[in-house]
């Protein structure tokens, strides 16, 4: 059960959370959160429904983009052509 936080302190935490949530939910962030940042964020998410919902939405979009990547898998013929070319090149026989 989440509780709604009140006051300027929570607004500051919400603002800060909004800035770091992407780095929290993505697989390979450019700059990973430090353990202290992660603790702070998780404490906030446990009491702020709005930011927790935002984290869920971000994860959901990332998961959908990941599934889009499955549609984006190269056709076997393309893979085969590329691998064949590598083999031809390294055989010293550039087709």
């Amino acid at each position: 059960m989440t509780r709604r936080m009140q006051g300027p302190r929570s607004m500051l935490e919400c603002w800060w959370s909004g800035r770091v949530l992407d780095r929290y939910v993505e697989q390979q962030p450019a700059i990973p959160l430090t353990p202290a940042e992660r603790d702070r964020l998780e404490r906030h998410l446990s009491v702020c429904e709005r930011c927790a919902t935002s984290a869920t939405e971000r994860r959901r979009v990332l998961a959908a983009l990941d599934r889009l990547g499955d549609q984006h898998a190269p056709p076997p013929a393309s893979l085969r052509r590329a691998h064949d070319l590598v083999r031809d090149l390294t055989d010293g026989d550039p087709a």
Partner: protein, 205 residues
Amino acid sequence: MAGRDGKEPEGPPGSEDMTPSAAPAQRGEATRAEAFARWVEPEVEVLLRVAHTLTGSWSDADDVVQDTLVRAWGAVDRFDGRHPRAWLLTILRRTHLNSLRRGRPDLVEDDVLARHRPAFGAAHASSPEQVVDDRAFDADVAEAVGSLGEQFRRAVLLVDVDHLTYDEAAAVLDVPTGTVVSRVSRGRSRLRAALAHRRPRGGSR
């Protein structure tokens, strides 16, 4: 591998293929070929994915990747072996740019929306309701991606769909890593705004 044309490198019995007793030129050639294959083979799929993101079609992606591989082979002597993926992606970017300059405006990626619209087939979720919900959501996400501005769309596709690191995406786009971080972040934010009507079921009370 060895003795393809009947010639074995000379060496003491029990020695491996790559002994120092092989003729230097021959040995260098073999080492170069081996190293190239070792660096490039694992990256072929990623090169094709990225080329598809840049060109919007598999046949054009094929062409770009073939050109990229030939150029990489020509440049392998100048490559120090560190970060093969970034090296290959940089070559791929230049190759793609050249292909655009050669004038194939139809290659430019406004097709990406159509090509990224998911086929109704793949399923990851468990319950039937979840599958139906995911598919509908995925179609909305694909459409939202297609309506992003080009800079944001490319950044999001490279990082969130093709799963390049930010540094790798920066090599493809020829911009600083920080610029990619910013474009991805803004691209995602626009996606969320476009999908605001599609809140998770049972969410946002």
